[in-house]
Amino acid sequence: MATPTTNIPAHDVAPEDLATVSRQTSIYVYEAPVRMWHWINAAAILVLCVTGYFIGSPLPSMQIGEATDQFVFGYIRFAHFAAGWILTVGFLGRIYWAFVGNHHARQLFYVPVWKLEFWREVIFEIRWYLFIAKEPKKYVGHNPLAQLAMFFFITLGVSFMIVTGMALYAEGAQEGSLTADLFGWVHGLTWNSQRLHTLHHLGMWWIVIFMIVHIYVAIREDIMSRQSIVSTMISGHRTFKDDRDD
């Protein structure tokens, strides 16, 4: 095997290191607004899940001071609402960026169901995750299975949580408020808002399941696939580990 030429300073290169050298192409995939949205969104979701869980099952009663001096549950709810607004505004900004951003900024919002090639690659990815395929393919953006998951968990999941969450928020904001005007119609679908609470609560677990899978798969693919994953969402660059074709 011919040793590839390299311009890495030689003082720290062992012979076995040189064997792994490739041309290391990198592509700028995720623009700054997409990356910022990702991390703000992640933080908002984390806050929303934790506070949302405690809104459904409150912490043990606390006796810090008089009821008027104490606002524990109020702060938990405030954090939930504040994070909910950040999530909503962020999501709207992300939709805007899908229009003005690059090709990869649009991948989140659609599933190319009409493309046979897409489904063929979904099946290939499933084979890769079932340990049947020996080597994964290279992808610049999301792989087809990831795109499918992103669409159902994030695009639909977050939309559902925003719509139901805003409708619940409208109950406190009351008739005549902006949220009641925009989202009050949701109550016309569920009537008893206890049902809407339950649906919103199940939605949280839908997002939690996504988080488990997403973090696991991102780290696993970072290690086992042929491209960078985790750092791509930090630097924006997708680097490939080898120069071979698919």
């Binding site: 869980y53 459904g56 099952s57 409150p58 912490l59 043990p60 009663s61 606390m62 006796q63 009821a67 008027t68 104490q70 606002f71 524990v72 549950f73 109020g74 938990i76 709810r77 995750y129 340990f131 109950e171 406190g172 009351q174 008739e175 009050g184 119609w185 109550h187 016309g188 009537w191 008893n192 808002s193 206890q194 049902r195 609470h197 339950t198 609560h201 199940l202 949280m204 677990w205 939690v208 399941i209 488990i212 899978v213 696991y216 696993r220 290690i223 086992m224």
Partner: protein, 361 residues
């Protein structure tokens, strides 16, 4: 059409003084959220307008609406409205019985055709051609359709008429059906609750009789002035909710201190009604004030939302009774377990490949 008495005449005939009449008008105005300027308007309407007849029919129900109605905080409201209703038809309260009662109903329907308000307590069961509720020898649904045909507007009293209530609880063997799903061509105002508050009932009737139109309704067709806010929005225990001070068990110290009943399954945050402002039994109390959480009786499907004492609703679709957290945690547990196994297999595969590569090279 024969001369119909005005409200004022009926009241005077009942021995009510003018002074008491004016008191009633101002009480009603404030109950309806109207300014003092409306007091003379209400008085004028009651003095001059021929009263609108009310026909009150009862289907599948428990009569708690009637029971609540006759316990109006302001005795005048009760006496006035009640005496006029019993003039027409209400088989719980009218003196007549049997054929005489049915004849009175028929007479009222013919006499006031297109003019009367039909108040419905209870709902019609539709299974077996409506045979689960017989009134005057006929299925109630027939009486309802017949009486509704000539009505100007319909009031659905209580959770039964509005939503179905406990007789419509899953699996609803009699197919008890709320009024608006049977009568679809008339304006319907829902006054839910099990029962509704007496002042709310008299307030709604007085508004409709005085202004000759339906009050402003919310999205579900309930009068917005009474169902515009949640119990929670006006609950006097709200500071304990915001503070995070909850009753943890029925016999704990927090219960004695009157802390928030949220953790005990109080449905105040999801229930639209006037209990926490108007109160019950002449404003004496309401469920939360007496130390018991709200069960959400003025909300659709309150009877099928799991236990009254659980914060999170049981979801029956999953076969066993479990709430959103239990379902979610089970699902997250399964996924988390699968991820762990998958990670382990991935690591093994990778180790295997590395050894293989070493052997090959």
């Amino acid at each position: 059409m024969s001369q119909i008495e005005t409200f004022y005449e009926v009241m005077r005939r009942q021995g009510i003084t003018r002074r008491s009449f004016m008191k009633y008008c101002s009480l009603t105005a404030s109950a309806l959220g109207l300014g003092p300027a409306f007091v003379p308007k209400i008085a004028h309407a009651m003095e001059t307008k021929p009263r609108t007849p009310v026909i009150w029919v009862n289907g599948l129900e428990c009569t708690c609406c009637s029971e609540s109605f006759i316990r109006g905080a302001h005795p005048l409201a009760k006496d006035v409205v009640l005496s006029m209703i019993s003039l027409d038809y209400s088989h719980v309260l009218m003196a007549a019985a049997g054929h005489a009662a049915e004849a009175a109903l028929e007479e009222a329907i013919q006499k006031y055709k297109g003019n009367y308000i039909l108040a419905v307590e209870g709902n019609p069961p539709l299974n077996e051609d409506g045979m689960f509720c017989i009134v005057g020898g006929k299925p109630f649904v027939e009486q309802l359709r017949h009486a509704a045909a000539g009505a100007k507007a319909i009031i659905s009293w209580g959770a039964c008429a509005s939503y179905g209530c406990v007789q419509a609880a899953s699996p609803n063997p009699t197919r008890a059906t709320p009024v608006h799903k049977v009568i679809t061509d008339k304006p319907i105002i829902k006054v839910p609750g099990c029962p509704p508050i007496a002042e709310v009932m008299t307030g709604v009737i007085t508004y409709m009789l005085t202004f000759d139109r339906l009050p402003e309704l919310d999205r579900q067709g309930r009068p917005a002035m009474f169902y515009g806010q949640r119990i929670h929005d006006k609950c006097y225990r709200r500071p304990h909710f915001d503070a995070g001070q909850f009753v943890e068990a029925w016999d704990d110290d927090n219960a004695r201190k009157g802390y928030c009943l949220y953790k005990m399954g109080c449905k105040g945050p999801t229930t639209y009604n006037a209990c926490s402002t108007v109160g019950w039994n002449e404003g004496t109390s309401f469920p939360i004030q007496s130390g018991h959480g709200c069960i959400g009786c003025s909300e659709d499907g309150f009877w099928d939302q799991g236990g009254f004492y659980n914060r999170l609703t049981n979801i029956k679709q999953f076969g066993v009774e479990a709430n959103a957290d239990q379902v979610g945690m089970a699902a997250a547990g399964v996924v988390g377990g699968a991820v762990a196994v998958h990670a382990a297999v991935s690591a093994l595969k990778r180790a295997q490949k590395k050894t293989q590569d070493k052997v090959e090279s």
